[in-house]
């Protein structure tokens, strides 16, 4: 399995009440998305009430990253977890728009807003 590596992407994880906040750091491309995917699987195994993916420190994402988040959303729906994305850079937001997924995901501006969205 892919491990977390500073040279690809790092995924920070924080628990706040019923919510788990995952914050990937770095470009989420074909080398990095398996790392993010593994972290998502791990925290989703705990079936949190809320899963926030904070993209503040993700300057770039390609469709492999988007696919990873779509898969996580499907698991979240099955588990009854509220999944929210926050703090998307313009460049990252635009790939969700192009893929017409900007209305499929719950996307908010800040990590604070993500705790109540």
């Amino acid at each position: 399995m892919a491990e977390r590596r500073a040279d690809s992407v790092t995924v920070n994880c924080e628990t706040r009440g019923n919510a788990v906040i995952l914050s990937p750091v770095g470009d989420v491309d074909l080398t990095a998305s398996p790392v993010l995917r593994q972290e998502l699987k791990r925290v989703q195994g705990k079936r949190p009430a809320r899963l926030v993916v904070d993209l503040t420190l993700v300057p770039y994402m390609d469709s492999s990253g988007v696919a990873t988040l779509v898969e996580a959303m499907q698991i979240a729906r099955k588990n009854g977890t509220r999944m929210v994305l926050c703090a998307l850079a313009d460049r990252v937001r635009s790939i969700f728009e192009i893929a017409r997924l900007d209305t499929v995901f719950v996307i908010v501006a800040t990590s604070d807003a993500a705790m109540t969205a």
Binding site: D27, D29, L30, T31, Y60, D62, S63, S64, V66, A67, T68, V70, E71, Q74, D90, R91, S94, I95, I98, A99, R100, L101, V104
Partner: protein, 180 residues
């Protein structure tokens, strides 16, 4: 019809920049950063530079995943041609160590060609799916067509595939999706 005729200045002759990488996802970031930096220097707006980087990334990912079935040691070539006139005003009376090269003035578009030696497929099979069906994957070709002005897949003469993409610097109107 192509808005940039194939006879536009710059479209003939060797590419101005060529990259050859092994089909290892390790080199994706280098390839897209180079292409974005060249586009920025040629005067493309930031948003377009990001779109060009994304299209190159998606195209290389597809060559690695579909063309080479994830073999990491096969060649992928990326060639860049600025279309229009690249002024090569490359000298000035500046200090020793200073240089000059402020010369990108009339670039209209960037042509990007990505080639491989992978299996040949029917270009008509390289197409995007219905996006209404929300599921992981199946977005790459849609993204490439959405962000670039012209997109053409074809078989190379002997082995492998060739993807030709054009991004215009200034848009005449609404974004067109090329047909290929």
């Amino acid at each position: 019809m192509s808005a940039i005729p194939s006879t536009a200045p710059g479209s003939a002759g060797p590419p101005e920049v060529s990259i050859e990488i092994m089909s290892n996802p390790l080199y994706l970031s280098g390839a897209r950063e180079l292409v974005a930096a060249v586009a920025r220097r040629l005067g493309f707006p930031d948003e377009s530079c990001g779109q060009i980087a994304l299209a190159v990334d998606e195209a290389i990912c597809n060559v690695i995943r579909h063309g080479y079935d994830r073999a990491a040691d096969k060649p992928i070539w990326i060639h860049l041609w600025p279309l229009g006139t690249v002024k090569q005003e490359n000298s000035c009376g500046c200090a020793a160590g200073g240089g000059c090269g402020d010369g990108n003035h009339a670039v209209e578009a960037l042509k990007i060609v990505i080639e491989d030696e992978a299996k040949q497929v029917d270009p008509a099979q390289i197409k995007s799916r219905n996006l209404e069906d929300v599921r992981p994957g199946g977005l790459g070709v849609h993204i490439i067509r959405a962000v670039m002005d012209e997109v053409t897949y074809e078989r190379r003469e002997k082995t492998g595939m060739r993807l030709t993409m054009i991004k215009r610097r200034v848009h005449a109107g609404a974004e067109e999706v090329g047909n290929g």
